[in-house]
């Protein structure tokens, strides 16, 4: 005769371990964010677009066998005739480029499918937009997103700790009435949080036309900008766009590509175009200034401008560039100048750390004009944080 009992626990015993695991995943999402900028155009997309992020599973390492011929497996298939030499599992088609996901044995990939909006939430929750001038759009006041009560579902950063604690107490009280309090090993009352206790702030959609921002993405597209450099620029721009879009209701983007002359282009041409010729960096900020004059008056627009280059500017243009940047800086919420210098692509006769232009611009760096050097894609996130501050989550 066996013993039967109803399991009375109301505790969600794996909750703590799940949240530890989740934090590791979130970190992996952030670490992987510069890898997700695939070929498709995502910079200009709205927040509803769903993207798949390959997140490397948090692995539990063990010694395991690899796939060499000596590693024979055994199968059993009654009813199905099998023959020696019969191929029962095809090798996978050649994967695309080298460092893409999924090549190694045992690689576990969580394909986390999230919207850009959610991605931004994860990335930027802890960061603060520079609190410079509060812009007004015509007569409409800038409205902050407002908390509208709580909901049982949401993302971690929006957890309402107080409300969750209240829910837990409520459940505890009713459990006690039902005589269902569990004692732990020490005979003490144990009453951990249950998933159903958790409450998240609900943030109401922002009112339309509240605030506008315009972003000028400026990039040197001269011959010395290799596709690897542009890849990193794209990752960087992507982050910047997502961040700003996350903070404002309406964001317009202007892509300005330049060699010795600047022009407004679309996203695809911006990243794909290879132009020959020299480099006059000043051409880009001057074009941005013209556009601001014509279309984006600083009284109604929050203006952001970001420039990426390999630093290889023609010397006669440096003076002009500095004055253009000063002028632009004074109109922008944030202006940045970024040099992308890949260690393995750097000419070996060039031993200086930064370009001549770098040291000139350094003198005008300020609260809303910042400078960065990116040596690899791992520098993208730190550079981003350098611009907008904030603690790592």
């Amino acid at each position: 005769m066996s013993i039967f009992k109803e399991h009375r626990t109301i505790a969600d015993r794996s909750a703590a371990d799940r949240s530890r695991h989740k934090r590791k995943i979130e970190k992996a999402i952030r670490d992987g964010v510069t890898d997700i900028i695939a070929d498709e155009s995502i910079i200009g997309q709205d927040g509803k677009k769903r993207i798949k992020i390959p997140v490397k599973g948090i692995k539990e390492w063990q010694f395991i066998f690899g796939d060499n011929e000596g590693n024979k497996q055994v199968g059993s298939a009654p009813g199905a005739p099998v023959q020696k030499g019969q191929v029962i599992k095809k090798g996978q088609q050649q994967q695309e480029q080298g460092n893409k996901a999924g090549n190694n044995k045992g690689e576990e990939f969580y394909e986390v499918e999230i919207t850009l909006e959610e991605l931004s939430e994860y990335l930027f929750e802890s960061l603060k937009l520079p609190d410079l001038e509060k812009k007004k759009f015509k007569s409409i006041l800038q409205e902050k997103p407002k908390r509208h009560g709580t909901r049982p579902h949401g993302i971690r950063p929006r957890l309402d700790k107080k409300e969750s604690a209240i829910q837990r107490l409520k459940r505890k009280a009713s459990a006690r009435r039902a005589g269902e309090i569990e004692l732990d090993e020490n005979g003490e009352e144990s009453f951990p949080f249950h998933e159903n206790d958790l409450r998240y702030h609900y943030i109401k959609e922002r009112p339309k036309d509240a605030t506008n921002a315009v972003i000028f993405f400026m990039m040197d597209v001269s011959g010395s900008m290799t596709s690897n450099i542009k890849f990193i620029a794209r990752s960087f721009f992507f982050l910047l766009y997502q961040f700003i879009r996350h903070k404002y209701e309406k964001v317009e983007i202007v892509f300005i590509a330049h060699t010795t002359e600047a022009e407004v282009v679309d996203e695809e041409r911006f990243f794909k175009r290879v132009a020959s010729g020299g480099t006059h960096i000043s051409s880009a900020p001057f074009l941005a200034l013209d556009l601001i004059n014509e279309m984006y008056h600083p009284n109604s627009w929050n203006i952001y401008a970001f420039h990426c280059t390999d630093g290889d500017n023609w010397e006669e243009d440096n003076d002009k560039t500095v004055s253009a940047f000063i002028e632009l800086r004074d109109l922008c919420q944030m202006l940045s100048y970024t040099e992308i210098v890949l260690a393995n692509e750097r000419p070996n006769w060039d031993t200086s750390n930064n370009s001549k232009l770098w040291s000139r611009l350094k003198s005008i760096e300020s609260r809303n004009m910042k400078m960065n050097v990116l040596k690899s894609k791992d520098d993208v996130w730190p550079a981003f944080k350098h611009l907008f501050g904030g603690e790592d989550v």
Partner: protein, 451 residues
């Protein structure tokens, strides 16, 4: 823990078709039949739980109390999402090797399934109690030990001088070598006795083979229990680190017998649930769904060996050819390795249409069949099967030497290369425990290789 018997049906909101009294009534009948057949099991304590709790229990190997670690959260999420995606059914049964044996019945299961599970659990519990491999698992005290381990680790997590990050790191590292233990069990000669017996051998040595033995070498003999070697030879470990290593090590010794008897254990439980349910004289409304589930669980998987299926087939064959006494003898003295060696014959391999297959080439290879169950092939099939079952699917790595503070490990290469990315990361974890240099010697593509 054994869990399996996956359900492929989706969980719907449905009213259960049974009451507690139904369970008690059927359990009485099951126990009576089982006793009549000579089964001898630990008392079973069934707990009814819901789907969410079942996944939670599974994540912690069914242990009612288990220390906390992110990897169990990962297991939970994976099971949960695989289930939601319809990739995997839920386990019908979960029972642990303890006295009494704790087993879980999922509230959502229909009555016929609960009956099947209860009969299946009797088989498992009988196996836990009688199979020799389990002799050192201390079923009487195991739940208490796990609870105490949990409390201690919780204490380290809450200790401001230690904290969760450091605790996790040590557990991560232990997990990397958790199955690098002595697979035959933990009790053998201690270092002192070993030394003494070796000195005796050297003193009475007439053949000269012991001439060059250095009796101060560490370890004197290959040490398969890497965690033990670190515990005994490191002077850099803090007490709490030692305790965690010991906890993980104990858990490995507790679970190793289950790893080594998966086919027998599942085969034995299935053999008995089938017998018992056929003797229960179930009404058709229960008997037909039972047969359907039974056939679904015990079907061959094609590219992999289904332990339920293979074990069930072999036990049936033994009964038919040699009588039930032989079955009882096997359940007592054997583990999967000897069981397959002893009872899998050519006829059987043919009936089950077994085959071996391997990758051809190194990068993205095709896998093709090497041996089929014929006169020449079946022996190769049997030996490949033995190489891949139970703990044999885990590479054997032992401590060979300790030189100038460097731990030198050796991989016992048996034709199968190590996966290098995993090996690299395991080495980092071992270094974290050893707090010093660690070297591993192995063979990759027929060349000596050092990590």
């Amino acid at each position: 823990m054994t869990s399996g018997l996956l359900s492929n049906t989706c969980l719907e909101e449905k009213m259960s078709d049974w009451t507690f009294d139904d369970l008690v009534g059927w359990d009485d009948k099951i126990c009576e039949i089982a006793r009549r057949h000579g089964l001898d099991w630990y008392e079973i304590a069934y707990e009814t739980i819901d789907y969410h709790e079942m996944i939670g229990a599974m994540a912690y190997h069914g242990m009612p109390s288990h220390f906390s670690h992110w990897s169990y959260g990962k297991t939970f999420e994976r099971t949960h999402s695989m289930y939601n995606a319809g990739l995997e059914g839920l386990p019908y049964e979960l029972i642990i090797n303890s006295n009494p044996s704790i087993a879980y019945l999922m509230l959502e299961n229909p009555l016929y399934l609960q009956i099947l599970i209860m009969a299946h659990c009797v088989g498992h519990s009988d196996f836990f109690k009688n199979n020799r491999t389990f002799r050192e698992t201390d079923a009487d005290h195991v739940t208490r030990k796990f609870r105490s381990a949990r409390q201690r680790i919780q204490g380290y997590i809450e200790n401001p001088h230690i904290g969760i990050e450091s605790v996790e790191k040590v557990i991560d590292s232990c997990h990397a070598i958790q199955y690098q233990i002595d697979r035959r069990g933990r009790f053998r000669l201690g270092e002192k006795d070993l030394k003494k017996s070796l000195i005796d051998k050297i003193n009475n040595d007439k053949t000269g083979i012991y001439k060059n033995i250095d009796i101060n070498k560490k370890p004197l003999e290959p040490e398969f229990d890497i965690m033990l070697f670190i515990l005994e030879n490191s002077n850099k470990l803090e007490d709490w680190e030692r305790d965690i290593i010991e906890i993980v090590r104990n858990e490995s010794y507790y679970f190793m017998p289950q790893i080594r008897t998966k086919i027998m254990n599942e085969g034995w439980a299935s053999f008995w649930h089938y017998k018992i349910l056929n003797e229960l004289e179930l009404p058709d409304s229960l008997h037909i769904p039972f047969l359907k589930t039974h056939n679904q669980v015990l079907r061959p998987w094609g590219g992999r060996i289904n332990p339920y299926h293979l074990g069930f087939e072999i036990f049936n064959k033994i009964e038919k050819k040699m009588g039930i006494e032989e079955c009882f003898m096997a359940r007592e003295v054997m583990s999967d390795e000897s069981f397959i060696m002893q009872y899998l014959d050519e006829e059987h391999a043919r009936e089950l249409n077994m085959f071996t297959y391997s990758p051809k080439g190194r990068k993205n290879p095709d896998w093709s069949i090497d041996d089929v169950a014929d006169e020449e092939g079946w022996l190769e099939i049997r030996s490949s099967l033995i190489k891949t079952i139970g703990s044999n699917s885990i590479p054997v790595i032992y401590v060979d030497d300790l030189k100038d503070g460097t731990l030198i490990l050796q991989h016992e290469h048996d034709g199968r290369d190590l996966e290098l990315d995993y090996a690299d990361n395991c080495m980092k974890n071992i270094e974290h425990l050893w707090k010093g240099k660690v070297k591993l010697l192995t063979t990759i593509e027929d060349e000596p290789f050092e990590i």
